[in-house]
């Protein structure tokens, strides 16, 4: 780990209980409790010049329930050319994370996307609606227990069989 990143991580560990901190292929990520994520990101933006939130996403570890999700904030410092990832573990039952849309404005749409795709509620979000799926969609598609779904191709040998299953408005 680089020296500058090392000192940033050390401050995070001492002041914000960021634990554990892991490194893989030169990328550093630290885990933080949901309740402290807003102050951690505010600190990183204001005092460590992480101006840009490059990406915000989530991972579903189903059937693992506690924590089932990890919400991931990929931060970039343009002035110091650094990257740091903050991960927030969230339990599967009633997943809730405080919103960071007040810290990074880009989180507004990103959180709507995660709400839409994973069903994670971002508390205090100004406009938490579905963003990609239709507003009356049921379920959250990127959850691992959401079926992928497919359609069987219709060939000559199974043409009749599939035709029977298709909706027929005339019947």
């Amino acid at each position: 780990m680089e020296n500058t990143l090392q000192s940033i991580v050390q401050t995070l560990q001492e002041r914000f209980e960021v634990n554990p901190v892991e490194e893989f292929r030169g990328e550093v990520h630290g885990f933080v409790a949901p309740a402290r994520v807003v102050e951690v990101l505010t600190h990183l933006r204001d005092h460590e010049s992480f101006e840009l939130m490059s990406a915000m996403t989530a991972v579903d570890y189903w059937p693992n329930e506690a924590p089932r999700f990890n919400v991931i904030y990929q931060l970039t410092s343009i002035s110091r050319n650094l990257s740091l990832q903050v991960r927030v573990p969230v339990a599967g039952a009633d997943p809730k994370v405080p919103t960071v849309s007040g810290v990074y404005a880009s989180a507004n749409w990103r959180e709507r996307e995660l709400f839409d795709m994973f069903g994670i509620t971002f508390e205090g979000h100004p406009d938490l609606r579905r963003i990609l799926m239709p507003f009356d969609w049921v379920g959250h598609p990127l959850r691992k227990d959401f079926p992928l779904g497919y359609e069987e191709p219709q060939f000559t040998f199974n043409f009749e069989e599939i035709s029977l299953q298709k909706p027929n408005p005339e019947a």
Binding site: E51, T57, D60, N81, S106, W109, L148
Partner: protein, 409 residues
Amino acid sequence: MTQLQEVTVDELKHLVSDRAIQGETVLLNMGPQHPATHGVLRLLLELDGEIVVNCIPDIGYLHTGIEKNMEAKTYQKAEVMTDRLDYLNTVGNNLAYCMAVEKLVDLDVPPRAQAIRVILTELQRIASHLVWIGTHALDLAAMSMFMYAFREREIILDIFELVSGQRMMTTYFRPGGVWRDVPVEFEAAVRNFIKLFPKRIDEYEALLTKNPLLLDRLLGIGVLTKETALSHGVTGPILRASGVNWDLRKARPYMGYEQYEFNVPVRSEGDNYARYLVRVQEMRESLKIVEQALDKLPMGPVRSDNRKFVPPPRSEIGVSMEALIHHFKLWTEGFDAPNASIYSAVEGPRGELGVFLEGDGGPKPRRVHMRTPSFDNLGVLPEIAKGHLVADLIAIIGSIDFVLGDIDR
């Protein structure tokens, strides 16, 4: 999976101002089928006369569940989905994904493959900017510009067809290198383009850069400040037009970009015109990179010989038992990646194109997230459209240069 229900007015009340509820301003629906929204984007506009009070983008019409589909495919097969994200930057999407896979499994890329990747990615950047300049000018009533831009783009697509057999959805880059070496005609085709294109950019500039009709629509319109841009996660030419010198090719060189000399155009005005100038200049810089990479193009293999991740050449399968086994294993099972995550980003024509990739120890990814630049770039539209005329909104949309396939994924 949908249950038909109506959206009540109360649910959407917080999006518009109180004046809209009292009937003082007009709510106007623009899109999803509208020629100036560059795809299926719907904008709900709150208008006071012709002035935009609020602009509420409604996206998702092109959502195809690409991230979900990629989770169900092996690492090699999932690459095909990446072409379909940003259909004006197919080669760049392949590059971002391949680099992510290579980083996750720690796979090397031979120098010749790196140089070929750079040449094609930069040509793709030019092709993407050509579509931008054509459609942007078309929106602003310079119709012939559209024909000129597509005429040159055709030459680039022909080069893609030459190397990969496909004009747009190439999937030519593969984890560990490229699919096969470039044909002998490749160099002449690219040299021809390098010779021809600078004159053509001069022609575009003669037509547009000092054109008073265009200046009226671009100068001082849609000003985006540095702070707003950074907070909204805006990257790419738009960020550089707002005075932030941030280009991943310079800041974090990949694929040997550190060997090539090129400038990163930066403007400080942050308006439509600055974005126009930055992109036009970028086309010239990309051409410089293409020329240098072609001059230096090293000889050698174009794909890693790590047989755990890269299938053996066809000629070996008939004579080598190991080659046959590797080939069979790779195309039936795929290769295993570690149970860990990486984030890898490249500089696409629209900005930071990142891939978050998490493996689960098996041959399929646990999660692939494509951090597409258009998503965040469009998110800033409501901020910069406020207070402008509807006609200027068209110019701003054009200058943001988003691709809906990139946003909706």
